[in-house]
Amino acid sequence: MCGIVGLLVKKAELRDQLGAMMVPMLVGMTERGPDSAGLAVYTAPVTERQCKLSLYSGEHAVDFRRLAEDLRTELGGVHELDVQGNHAVLVTESDPGQVSEWILGRVPEVAVLSVGRAIDLYKDVGAPADIARRYRFDALKGTHLVAHTRMATESAVTPAHAHPFTAGRDFCLVHNGSLSNPHLVRKHLEPLGIEFETDNDTEAACRFFEWRLREGDALETAVERGFSVLDGFYTFLMGTDQELLIVRDAFACKPAVVAESDGYVAIASEFRSLAHLPDIAHASLFEPKPEEIYTWRI
């Protein structure tokens, strides 16, 4: 069992409140996912020449400022850091692939959680409320976000196994359910040069969709292909810098409720995470139907 949470604000004036609106939604999903939580927020994008990476050092004491200085010395160029405890957002003008590889080689205790122009990613083990406080989720600003509370059923409880999963740039996915053929999917993707970081089933889905996006599929097309490739139970919630998408498998065992109002689209596994949203009484509520793809654009 897990909890999923998604929020997209339709009005520019609500972007400053994105995090504050979301925190009760995430905390409301604690019983569905008490062991870890994570969140991807899509902010105003950095400039065309820049890219940003969300970095996470977990239990390791890492001097992020030193890391940025070393980056400047060794790779050259501009590297700006915004540090929050064991988490940092690095804005760089260098090639993000090169930066990621440099980090992997020089500071392997730092994980690169996401790469893109709009996405910031946080994930950690612990109760959702603690994680929300740790990273000040209530202060997050942006257009939309994808969040998850995890109750592990098929692989370890570690930050790396927590959702959201990311692949490529500005793409993330959270999952409630379990896939029965992740190893088969992985076997098809690895010969294409696609590397995996964990043994988690959700990562296989994430890397499959991102591969299809790179091959030129629209997100909806990629998800439709997934119907015949991914076997198992899922409610997937996905984000790109432009859109928020939800889809449930044909058996739709894993719940989801959508509330749409003039101001926002809010998604959660259960209504109890939506009950406290402003003007919820006038929002239109529905459950996504099996194998129907629902997309909202910013």
């Binding site: 044909a250 739709a252 259960e270 209504f271 109890r272 009950a275 406290h276 509520l285 459950e287």
Partner: protein
């Protein structure tokens, strides 16, 4: 003759203030003793297991949306949800009446033995799965795999049905007014008899609908799965 009927009292719970446990304790242990027969619940905000396991002639009115298992295992009581219900509404109901004014999520009325479940809106997948004798009236449409392995009872669907309706049915009977995307294994459409029309008519009346029973199709078991056929090669 003096009026010996006890005076009916109403008690109100507000779940932003009162705990769910206090509400359910009251419904189970105190309501009857205190002569309270009507209970109004405000701000349920999607809480789970509201009014579960009731065993008395109570009238519970819930104003808002509820989470999993509302009125599960209900006996005797009438529970009305003025909103939507999460998964497993009236699951394993024994008797009484559960009325969801909005839509109901998956597994509504699953394995219910008796009583009447009314859903004014749509019911999601697996509505009435393993039904064991209750009646279900859905004002809207039902999702796939509804009435799977339903053993006894009746299900009236005023809208459409998804895939595999009535798969592996036993003695339960389904009446559908709209389109059926597909029937499940061993389910078949049968002619509506006068008795079927009368049954549908009375269930529709109980649920407050006025459709013409003649607009409904009867779906029941072809009973081919009742016996093992060695030659069938498991292809039904």
């Amino acid at each position: 003759m003096a009026n010996l009927m006890p005076v009916s009292k109403t008690r109100e719970f507000d779940l932003t203030r009162d705990s769910l446990r206090d509400l359910n304790l009251f419904l189970h242990r105190r309501a009857a003793a205190e002569g309270v027969s009507r209970i109004r619940v405000q701000n349920p905000d999607g809480a789970h297991s509201i009014a579960c396991g009731l065993d008395a002639d109570l009238d519970v009115q819930i104003h808002g949306h509820v989470g999993y298992y509302v009125a599960g295992m209900n006996k005797h009581a009438s529970v009305t949800v003025y909103g939507n219900a999460g998964p497993g509404a009236a699951e394993n109901m024994m008797s009484g009446r559960v009325h969801v004014k909005g839509f109901a999520s998956m597994g509504a009325g699953a394995s219910a033995h008796g009583g009447l479940l009314i859903i004014d809106g749509d019911a999601s997948l697996r509505c009435g799965i393993s039904l064991k004798g209750a009646d279900i009236v859905v004002g809207g449409s039902v999702g796939s795999f509804s009435a799977f392995m339903a053993q006894a009872g009746r299900m009236v669907i005023c809208g459409d049905a998804g895939d595999a309706l009535g798969d592996s049915l036993y003695e339960a009977v389904i009446y559908v007014r709209g389109a059926v995307r597909s029937l499940g294994a061993d389910a078949r459409v049968e002619a509506m008899t006068d008795l079927d029309c009368a049954a549908v008519s009375s269930l529709l009346a109980a649920a407050g609908h006025s459709h013409d029973p003649k607009e409904f199709k009867r779906i029941a078991s072809a009973k081919n799965l009742y016996h093992w056929h060695a030659d069938a090669d498991q292809e039904y």
